[in-house]
Amino acid sequence: MKNWGFTISTSRTIDMDKADLKTYNKITEKVPSAKRCLMCGACSATCAAHNHTSFNFRKCHLSFRRGQFENLAEELDKCMLCGKCKLVCPRGVNTRAIIFNMRIFLNDLNYKKISL
């Protein structure tokens, strides 16, 4: 068959009818303050890793909330758990605990085995 060089691109849309929104509830059970997050980005702004790599805690948190786990484990590996993010949060979110628990649940989901 003749190859015309066209491909079908997959949809980037988050389909909230199919997304796994339940796993995030496991995080909020462990870290109730996660529900208060306003996505202001103060955590990312103060983050040493964010300033030198593509690591963005705010976005990782939001991706997890929306059930998008693709590449998340690798991203979370970049965090050094220093906890500076926790100091600047205006809503008292336990950011460090969110990262720790996201890592655990991603392991459970077999997205990628990572060292804890």
Binding site: R12, T13, I14, D15, M16, D17, T28, P32, S33, K35, R36, M39, R58, K59, L62, S63, R66, Q68, R91
Partner: protein, 340 residues
């Protein structure tokens, strides 16, 4: 009571609060209300933000105030004409009856935006798309249901419908819809704890006292999910649910979702009475709201002698703001009557 007659157009919170305070100061007050009952927009509300005080309680308070012996209340009286003649204000109703007084207070209030103008959101086309006013009516019935009469599993709120939107000619923020969405989402979660509630917003504006706390409580205690992004369109699914599309802007990805009810937080506009009467007497301002003489120094006065303004005929206001403004208007009217 010589030279102390006041006419008040509109028997909502602004009108009644001003009437009562003038009556206490020995003015003879005539309140002209176009509907069959006093209370105005408060009649459409069940509980008030941010305290969740019953609106019936507030209404009862207004009923009592309206019964003051110095107040004459005329309901079903739609004023169509206002004019100033021989140092007196005259108000003529649809049947030709004329009321006369030394001062006139316009407290004709607001109406909500007609959501059919935002056709892409499907209001009036899909039965699952309702307004915040209709949702409040469901709270009054004590029952939240889908058009098929089922318990909704998923409800979405959309803020800024008819506000902050130059496409409908309203550049301004209606100020009360954000906190109203928070209030209504909490009310839903109290009635239906298993229903998922999403709230779509451009900005969340929680400028009033205890608003931010209530917003925080809705997230923490009631699991209300706030998503920054304006819903661009709604469509019906084959099972008559509503599919919505938006950008999850903080995630920088498109998003779609099916919901049982889409609640449009309709904004505040000047009521027809405000626009028509304001235009007649030359105080019509931006967006049809009535224009005061000076926002900072003389917000209840107008360019016309003896004509005063109170409440949400001037701009979107909350109930406590309206009532405080009305008491200020009553004071300005007393000053005017004493000097003339």
């Amino acid at each position: 009571m010589e030279n102390r007659k006041v006419i008040i157009i509109g028997g909502g919170p602004a009108g009644i609060e001003a009437a009562y305070n003038l009556a206490l100061n020995n003015c003879s007050v005539t309140v002209l209300e176009k509907e069959a009952h006093i209370g105005g927009n408060i009649n459409n509300i069940v509980k008030l933000f941010p305290s969740f005080v019953s609106a019936d309680e507030i209404h009862e308070n207004f009923s009592q105030k309206s019964q003051h012996e110095n107040i004459k209340l005329y309901t079903n009286t739609d004023i169509t004409q206002l004019f100033f003649e021989n140092d007196l204000w005259h108000a003529k109703d649809a049947s030709g009856e004329t009321y006369t007084a030394d001062a006139l207070l316009l407290s004709t209030g607001f109406k909500t935006f007609d959501a059919r103008f935002k056709e892409e959101l499907g209001y009036g086309i899909y039965s699952g798309v309702i307004t915040s006013v209709e949702l409040e009516a469901m709270f009054k019935e004590g029952k939240i249901t889908t058009p098929e009469g089922k318990i909704p599993q998923r409800i979405a709120f959309l803020n800024c419908v008819g506000s902050r939107d130059e496409k409908v000619g309203n550049h301004y923020c209606s100020r009360v819809c954000c906190i109203n969405a928070v209030k209504q989402s909490i009310s839903i979660k109290e009635l239906l704890p298993d229903t998922e509630v999403f709230c779509f917003y451009m900005d969340i504006r929680m400028a009033g006292q205890f608003y931010e706390e209530l917003y925080r409580k809705s997230q923490e205690k009631h699991n209300v999910n706030y998503i920054r992004g304006r819903i661009s369109e709604a469509a019906a699914t084959i099972d008559n649910r509503v599919q919505i599309k938006c950008e999850d802007t903080l995630n920088q990805l498109p998003m779609k979702m099916t919901v049982d009810l889409l609640v449009l937080m309709v904004g505040t506009e000047a009521s027809d009475g405000t626009t028509n009467l304001g235009e007649q007497v030359g105080v019509k301002g931006e967006y049809g709201f009535a224009k005061s003489l000076n926002l900072h120094g003389a917000d209840n006065l107008t360019i016309k002698k003896g004509l005063f303004l109170a409440g949400s005929c001037k701009r979107p206001l909350t109930l406590p703001e309206t009532m405080a403004d009305s008491r200020a208007a009553a004071f300005e009217i007393l000053n005017y009557l004493n000097q003339n």
